[in-house]
């Protein structure tokens, strides 16, 4: 989450509000979005504080240690969410898992936004041959069945590079097409404005025009896109890990925890092992989506509220 329209306190009312301030006010009036923001905030804080919190919440705060004497314990006073098949505390792993899932989601989002914005703005700004070449390439990337290619690429790179970054890189590399298209069309529209033409005519370098003048104006679109992407990339991480092609097994992530549900006895008889990560994923995604919708509304000058 880059901009925090949501969390900053409402400033004194000024006579003419900046578009950002209007957006902030609109967003803060959106109850669902605000609740979601609060929820997501809590999830992030809990995950970040995992090393500090775990010892208070569980008798075995170690995520990695296998405890042969404590396997498969159903939730009780000691282990609030029980333990898994390795005798690891589910709550502890849920907290640590959140770090990984959110980290992968956020890093991949950053990567996607970076590549997408870069390609989109260059294509949009220069137009012509550059544009058509870049856009053909974008179409090309968009035409890959995402899941299939992520799995294949991941298998190739697994073991050559550290697993987590492979995943982030691969997801990022295959997902930027949509962003590039949207940024391009926005830039195309925006660059016809007089102020841009003026900037170009006084000899500003293309890079400067893009960064200083064009991007701020497509920022609202990028923010909304980033939010929605964040959600879908968290889904990508956990889905791939669930299939066994994501985060390396030894690293706890929500997807890896959910992978236990692949075993019928766990799925059927030990719901405490997979339900917490399943709910964590769902609620996080839901809240991010609500935030995204809220932002879309808030940043759209034509929206009613």
């Amino acid at each position: 989450m880059t901009t925090n329209a949501a969390t900053g306190p409402a400033k004194n009312r000024e006579k003419s509000l900046s578009p950002w301030a209007i957006a902030r006010r609109k967003f803060m009036k959106n109850k669902l979005a605000m609740i979601s923001t609060a929820f997501l905030f809590i999830v992030i804080i809990l995950s970040l504080l995992a090393p500090t919190l775990a010892p208070h919440l569980s008798p075995i705060p170690d995520v990695a240690k296998v405890n042969i004497s404590k396997m498969n314990i159903a939730p009780n006073g000691d282990h609030l969410l029980g333990t898994d098949k390795s005798g690891r505390d589910v709550l502890t792993r849920l907290l640590y898992g959140g770090r990984i899932s959110l980290l992968v989601g956020a890093s991949a989002t950053a990567l996607v936004i970076f590549i997408g914005t870069l390609v989109g703005s260059i294509a949009g700004f220069f137009g012509g041959a550059v544009d058509s070449m870049l856009m053909r390439f974008t179409d090309f990337v968009l035409n890959f069945p995402f899941l299939v290619f992520v799995i294949v690429l991941n298998t190739i790179l697994f073991g050559i590079v550290d697993g987590l970054w492979v995943l982030i890189g691969v997801i990022g590399f295959l997902s930027w097409g949509g962003v590039a298209r949207i940024v391009r069309s926005k830039v195309l529209a925006e660059k016809e404005n007089e102020y841009v033409l003026a900037a170009i005519s006084i000899g500003c370098s293309p890079a400067k025009v893009i960064v200083k003048h064009l991007l701020p104006n497509v920022m609202s679109t990028i923010i909304v896109q980033a939010t929605l992407l964040f959600a879908s990339l968290i889904i990508a991480e956990s889905g791939l890990s669930y299939l066994g092609f994501g985060v390396p097994q030894e690293i706890p992530s929500w997807g890896n925890m959910l992978a236990y549900a692949n075993e019928p006895d766990v799925l059927q008889g030990k719901p405490w092992m997979w339900m917490p990560p399943a709910l964590a994923i769902t609620l996080t995604i839901l809240s991010i989506n609500f935030i995204g919708e809220g932002l879309k509304d808030a940043l759209n000058p034509k929206s009613l509220r």
Binding site: F140, L147, V152, T155, I156, L243, P271, T282, N289
Partner: protein, 321 residues
């Protein structure tokens, strides 16, 4: 129109070529011994290995290898599965019907549910029913299919015993009998519902909003003023207008259903293309992986094409662009 379709079809060729290059090099780069499965694994004599490498063309220049692969691929020879030791095309033909059956059922369920719920919500917006449906939609859009799938197996198969939780057909039924087909349908319902969940939610949403919007339009007012029964107005006049855009989504559905099948088939252990793909990746069955990857990529292209064509049919302005 024909010209437009032809132009789009021609446009697919370079795309397919590029995809094939990428697929080929990805397969080349995949770890593990690419010779495995093609030579006698117990024979470690270096001379034998070298001889087989030569014989199987592993020493040819890469472009020759690519050319050999792509030409036979175009002719329908996808190579021989290193795991099942049979032509990949036969292997695919075995599994494709299952996946198509799953995807079609998903499509049917999607349309039925989306129409029922969308019509209800659209006609009675802001009622309790509408809110419930909206809640379903939000969940359907947000919840990842694998989470939904796992929950579905847990509740509907394990707790309520409404559906079986794995496989494509019961054990002791005779092929081709009514029982056999009932059993197949029984097995496919739950995975199909999960596979179609996302589209169901988005179509419902779309239909609802479109119905509400259309109901404010002039032709509805006119119809009402003429005394046409309200039911008929919705069923005939409004719906017809709302269906058209929905139809254009069909193309995208084809691609997304086939890719989505990878996850759904895994959750429900449903023996189709998706499960075969995961299995082949895990077993380094390169020819199969390459063929499925190519097939799915081509499907995405075809799906997009169909979507564009349908869109062109609906909205003639697109064709000119």
């Amino acid at each position: 129109m024909v010209k437009y379709v032809l132009r789009r079809l021609l446009g697919m060729i370079p795309m397919l070529f590029l995809v094939s290059v990428v697929v080929f090099f990805l397969a080349k780069a995949m770890p593990g011994d690419s010779l495995r499965g093609e030579i006698d694994p117990t024979n470690t004599n270096p001379e034998y290995i070298a001889e087989m490498q030569e014989k199987l063309g592993y020493n040819d220049p890469v472009y020759v290898q690519y050319w050999n692969w792509v030409t036979s691929f175009v002719q329908g020879d996808f190579g021989k599965s290193t795991r099942y030791k049979m032509p990949v095309s036969d292997l695919l033909l075995e599994k494709i019907p299952n996946t198509v059956f799953l995807a079609l059922t998903a499509l049917i369920i999607t349309y039925i549910l989306a129409f029922a719920m969308g019509m209800y919500s659209g006609r009675k917006p802001y009622t309790i029913g509408d809110n419930l449906i909206a809640g379903f939609n939000y969940t359907g859009l947000a919840i990842p299919s694998f989470v939904a799938g796992v929950f579905a197996v847990y509740f509907f198969a394990f707790k309520l015993h409404w559906f079986p939780f794995a496989g494509s057909v019961d054990i002791e039924v005779q092929n081709g009998t009514i029982d056999y087909w009932m059993s197949r349908i029984h097995h496919v319902m739950l995975p199909a519902f999960i596979l179609g969940l996302f589209s169901t939610a988005s179509y419902t949403q779309f239909l609802r909003n479109d119905l509400i919007e259309n109901s404010r339009k002039d032709f509805v007012r006119t119809a009402r003023a003429k005394g046409t029964p309200i039911g008929k107005i919705y069923n005939v006049h409004i719906l017809r207008n709302s269906i058209i855009p929905l139809v254009t989504f069909l193309g995208f559905d084809i691609a997304s259903l086939m890719s989505g099948a990878v996850i759904t088939e895994k959750i429900f252990s449903y023996p189709g293309i998706g499960l075969l793909f995961l299995d082949s990746v895990n077993n380094r069955d390169y020819p199969t992986v390459m063929a499925i990857t190519m097939m799915l990529s081509a499907l995405v292209l075809v799906g997009n094409l169909i979507a564009d064509i349908l869109y062109g049919v609906v909205d003639p302005r697109i064709r000119l662009g």
